[in-house]
């Protein structure tokens, strides 16, 4: 096992541990945790058995295996970003509706008059 693979293995292990810890403390909702765990587990597998990844890359016609990793990482992050924007817009909409409701209710209870 080379130094690079050890580094990957250790950092992936640390990421998994961090996600599990956040979950344990209820700081991370399950629906997000599942996504990150789903990324971490293949990473661990490939860190332990790098040849598996090389063979996968060659099987789908990628000459330089790290390229496949980069492309997959970019695609995944892009999907995450789009999903986050959607979620943010939804939250913003709900916050606005709450603010409108509060303004109407404040008037009814006579606050600020």
């Amino acid at each position: 096992m080379t130094g690079v693979h050890l580094t990957v293995l250790l950092s992936t292990g640390a990421a998994v541990a961090a996600v599990v810890e956040l979950l344990r403390r209820r700081h991370l909702r399950e629906k997000y945790a599942v996504v990150w765990l789903a990324v971490c587990l293949p990473m661990i597998v490939f860190a332990i058995a790098p040849n598996l990844f090389n063979r996968l890359a060659h099987a789908i016609g990628v000459i330089n295996p790290p390229d496949l990793l980069t492309v997959l990482a970019c695609l995944f992050l892009l999907v995450v970003c789009v999903y986050m924007s959607w979620e943010l817009g939804r939250l913003e909409d709900r916050t606005r509706r709450l603010a409108e409701e509060v303004a109407l209710l404040r008037r009814d209870v006579g606050a600020g008059h």
């Binding site: 909409d93 603010a99 409108e100 303004a103 109407l104 404040r106 008037r107 600020g112 008059h113």
Partner: protein, 260 residues
């Protein structure tokens, strides 16, 4: 003329308009002495709220800035909850002349089904210069919306409007909150809901106070935003909603489904 028995609510969305709101409220009181007036103070940092309170009108203060769209949605909710027959929207910056409000109400159709009357600002170009890009944006919008609504509209972005009971109910749920596009998008929503939309020509006045947003780069930005908005509207679903799905038709069902 027979006496108008409709209960009318005037909604004045206001954001930092201490220089003009006092005189606007005076003019509204003179033009529509029997109407109730609601100022929606959109988190002003100046004396807007205290001036409105001193004028004795109803006041709702937003807890943070929601934009004109958000302020109007509060106004529509208030009007719908209290069962008003008609709602008039007048900006607090003084560019809308409240003396046109009775004419707007007269032109408003009170029969079932939403109806909107827009007070179009007469384009007396020499009086107020408009950058070319903004003029193009307004023409593009006017042409598109005239086709969509089946009514010749020359000033779709005017925020001086009157709404009947069903339009109040419609907008209490669906008034768009996006910055700037609220006036235009609300017309698209209304026409999709089968609303009758009409226009009344008025003479626009320069603002009493405050800064008009008319610089060239901003006008260009506005033009591109209008183009983007029209594009998004064209690809959005819900174009061909059957008239039977509307609440004022005999088969009563919700107009616009709540988003999940």
């Amino acid at each position: 003329m027979t006496r108008d028995l409709r209960r009318v609510l005037v909604v004045v969305p206001a954001w930092n308009e201490e220089g003009s709101i006092g005189s606007v409220l005076d003019e509204i009181a003179r033009a529509l002495p029997n109407a109730d007036v609601l100022v929606v103070d959109d988190f002003s940092s100046d004396r807007t709220a205290s001036i409105a309170r001193a004028a004795g009108v109803d006041l709702i203060s937003n807890i943070f800035n929601l934009g004109v769209g958000g302020a109007m949605r509060v106004g529509f909710r208030y009007g719908a909850d209290r069962g008003y027959d008609a709602l008039v929207q007048i900006d607090a910056d003084g560019q809308h002349d409240p003396s046109y409000a009775p004419a707007l109400l007269e032109a408003l159709d009170s029969s079932p089904g939403p109806a909107v009357v827009i007070a179009a600002r007469f384009d007396s170009s020499e009086d107020y210069p408009v950058p070319r890009a903004r003029r193009w944006a307004m023409r593009l919008l006017a042409a598109y919306l005239s086709r969509l609504t089946g009514c010749r509209l020359t000033d779709a972005t005017s925020g001086f409007r009157a709404y009947n009971r069903d339009a109040i109910a419609l907008f209490a749920r669906t008034y768009p909150a996006d910055y700037l596009s609220d006036t235009v998008e609300s017309l698209i929503i209304a026409s999709e809901a089968g609303a009758r939309i009409s226009q009344l020509s008025t003479v626009m006045r320069p603002r009493i106070a405050g800064m008009p947003s008319q610089s060239r780069p901003r006008a260009l930005l506005y033009l591109s935003r209008v183009a983007l908005m029209l594009f998004l509207q064209a690809i959005r679903p819900g174009r061909t909603r059957p008239a039977s799905a509307l609440p004022w038709s005999t088969a009563a069902r919700p107009i616009i489904e709540e988003k999940p």
